[in-house]
Assembly symmetry: C2
Homo-oligomer: 453 residues x 2
């Protein structure tokens, strides 16, 4: 038995680009065949690895049936571009074949008319699934459910259930059967494998799991991601407030969400959206990034303004201008260390208002200790560099002040943002470095004015 290789798009990027760059601009038969053999996820990755013009030629090869699947796996900008380039007839054909989950995911990108037409042609069960999902936010469990689950009356016997299962197509990732009461409410779950050991005449509801695995549809996905790690099934039943079974969410869906979320966090830190397309048009990319640059300019101006307060001092002691960046950047680094730990602490529930003052005191002590050490190191170096001990004293004192301020800000800023329901991972770093820049320049140049002029 051979181990399956992971099918990846990467070896195809090179041949596609060179074949399309040739005179006839056509893909070879071999390349076409290789593309069509890829699973949808790999085709999605392939499309996102190609510049927009080549992308369209590969997209033309994807069958109507697979297009929904492929789009489902792509980032928003790249999807929007492909959909925008499709002929109306092709778009209509594709829309008519979307699964409920695909329809929900792509709802904002396809015309309203095609959305309702597709919805009307679905089974009642699928329609309900779509309408249910649309009631929730992207980050809520209810939005991420599927309707591929087995629900069974709780009044059947094990044998009756086995008989039913033999007639049904059992969806993948099914390790639980959901029970429904006579009045249509969720009544608990049975582990599929417990059926093997059951007596044929045993009532199915006697096999119910004691610790019910169901969760509410309003739950935030990140809570479920932690929760799902705690319980031990491949799927989690999802119910509404009234106790109706809305659907299920699989571990794979949770994993996908966690991966997207991690990616999004990394991009947010640079003021980018996770939807960003590597090959987006230059103008659009430049425009989007300009916003973050503009915000940064405001904070940089604040720092410059602080420096400007000490113009007269700088004229007299140019060494201050040379050493300035060291004070600001040491503060920024120390602060971002505290900030990062605080953000993780908040995310894992290790940091809360109950223990914030303990962390606060600890971080100030860490700042003080590292402040003293680096004040001595940098002070000595600067004193020697400019052959003027007073400069060493001034920069050392400024480093100490800035590292303590950095520690204070690193704890307080995320706690305040969290209280204001703003994600500290998004704006925490910008606010923090503004503080450490301003405090650093003010302390350094202020002390310089006092002792060096």
């Amino acid at each position: 038995m051979e181990i399956s290789e992971i099918a990846t798009h990467e070896p195809l990027v090179d041949p596609i680009l060179s074949e399309l760059a040739e005179e006839d601009g056509q893909l070879s038969e071999a390349t076409r065949a290789a593309i069509l053999e890829l699973p949808s996820e790999a085709i999605a990755a392939l499309l996102e690895s190609l510049p927009v013009n080549s992308r369209l030629q590969v997209w033309a090869l994807v069958s109507d049936d697979e297009r929904g699947d492929v789009l489902f796996e792509m980032h928003d900008d790249a999807r929007r571009h492909l959909i925008g380039e499709m002929e109306e007839a092709d778009l209509r054909t594709m829309a008519a074949r979307l699964s409920p989950q695909e329809l929900v995911e792509l709802n904002e990108l396809i015309p309203e008319k095609l959305y309702s037409r597709r919805l009307k042609l679905m089974s009642i069960k699928e329609q309900t699934a779509v309408n249910t999902a649309m009631r929730f936010d992207d980050d809520q469990v209810g939005r991420n459910i599927d309707s591929d689950f087995i629900s069974i009356s709780e009044n059947l016997t094990a044998q009756q259930v086995m008989r039913l299962l033999r007639q049904w197509q059992i969806p993948s990732n099914t390790d639980l059967l959901c029970l429904v009461s006579e009045d249509g409410l969720y009544a608990g779950s049975v582990q599929l494998t417990d059926l093997f050991n059951a007596h044929p005449q045993q009532q199915i509801n006697e096999l119910k799991l004691e610790e019910d695995p169901a969760v509410g549809a309003e739950m935030h996905m990140s809570d479920l991601a932690d929760h799902s790690y705690q319980n031990h099934y491949a799927m989690t039943p999802v119910v509404d407030d009234a106790g109706h079974l809305l659907g299920r969410i699989t571990s794979q869906d949770i994993l996908g969400w966690v991966q997207d979320e991690a990616e999004s966090q990394l991009l947010q830190q640079a003021g980018l959206s996770e939807d960003e397309d590597l090959f987006a048009p230059v103008k659009r990319s430049a425009k989007r990034r300009a916003v973050w640059l503009g915000i940064n300019l405001c904070t940089a101006l604040l720092a410059s303004w602080t420096i400007g307060l000490f113009e007269a001092t700088l004229e007299q002691v140019v060494a201050l201008a040379i050493l300035m960046p060291i004070v600001a950047s040491m503060g920024g680094i120390a602060g971002s260390q505290t900030l990062t730990l605080a953000i993780r602490g908040l995310a894992l529930g290790h940091l809360s208002s109950s223990n914030a003052n303990i962390i606060f005191r600890k971080e100030i002590l860490v700042g003080l200790l590292n402040g003293i050490i680096w004040a001595l190191v940098i002070g000595t170096m600067a004193g020697l560099w400019f052959a003027k001990p007073a400069i060493g004293f001034v920069i050392g004192a400024a480093i100490l002040v800035n590292l303590i301020f950095a520690a204070v800000s690193g704890v307080i800023i995320p706690l305040i943002l969290d209280k204001l329901k703003i994600d500290p991972a998004l704006s925490g770093a910008v606010i923090l470095t503004t503080v450490t820049d301003v405090v650093g320049f003010f302390a350094f140049l202020g002390l310089g004015s006092l002792f060096l002029v």
Copy 2:
């Protein structure tokens, strides 16, 4: 049926801290009971939310049986501290009850003697599982497997398999049966639910999945995380090069790994380890963070040295000192945007040497466009601020130069680091901002020397 609430440690932090701060320093009966009701994961989080002295008092409540479970869920520093504080007898008792997965996870933290003693008392199957896992790195699939899977001879009939399953305890997250050939090699997998539809006399190996879900034990966990999203089972069989079935890995285990990895990436960016304990002793925390501060100091000194080259110019035109940080910081921000996109592109396989030159050209154009826009904006502002158009021209030109350099570095640095097998998420940002600082200061002060003196 009531929806299960997620059991969380957070409401307990406050009462524990205040009860322990009282005169008798004892936990109330109610608090003890609430702690003991928490699942292991929540106890782990609770311990990490408490300062070290309170932590020990809660740890004393945890039963010998649960301690391995709880440690398994904790970060390394916090684990090490608890183990270090345990009496030898307690440690021995705990070690004797570790599961194979726990023993592997904690192997570096418990004494060699206790490790081998525990191993000797395990079943042959468990011993093999531990020894197998220990052959691989943390990030390889082989290290993360468990031995809780069902393997069955491929020569049995469906009915015989059903009979066997009735006698066995079926582990959670089992949706596949692994088949083994007569010579002991992995021979494919059968979806458990396919047994329901099988004829009793059908050979089990006729039900084998066509696309085999097994993966090699050498595979990197991140590849599996993407792969697992592609296939559709709650578990993945893991085999070695010779085709022996080593164990399985569940979607939950993959999810746990992905979450740890995301956390680790965020912390690495601030030069921190994911093992960092929020309540680690001040001295140890300060020492660890000092390393990153020291690296940063070297880069800051390089920036200062660049500024120092233009000491004479700065003495004459103090406006340059005031505006300096703007040039450096705009370059840093623009560069980190390109860098972040490139790092994500590398991680998803969207960016490779095949298409790097296309991205490279695009990013330079984005840098050029934003460079022109911000050169005009900042140039105008600076010219007005200092009532000297030449200053506006100098800063504008420096911004333009730095934003183009930032784009170039943002693509090239991660590609080079990736070729050198260094994770660009770890050191990319430090190298990048060093480049943008030095280039920014050099361009700005250099142009200033030419045109303003």
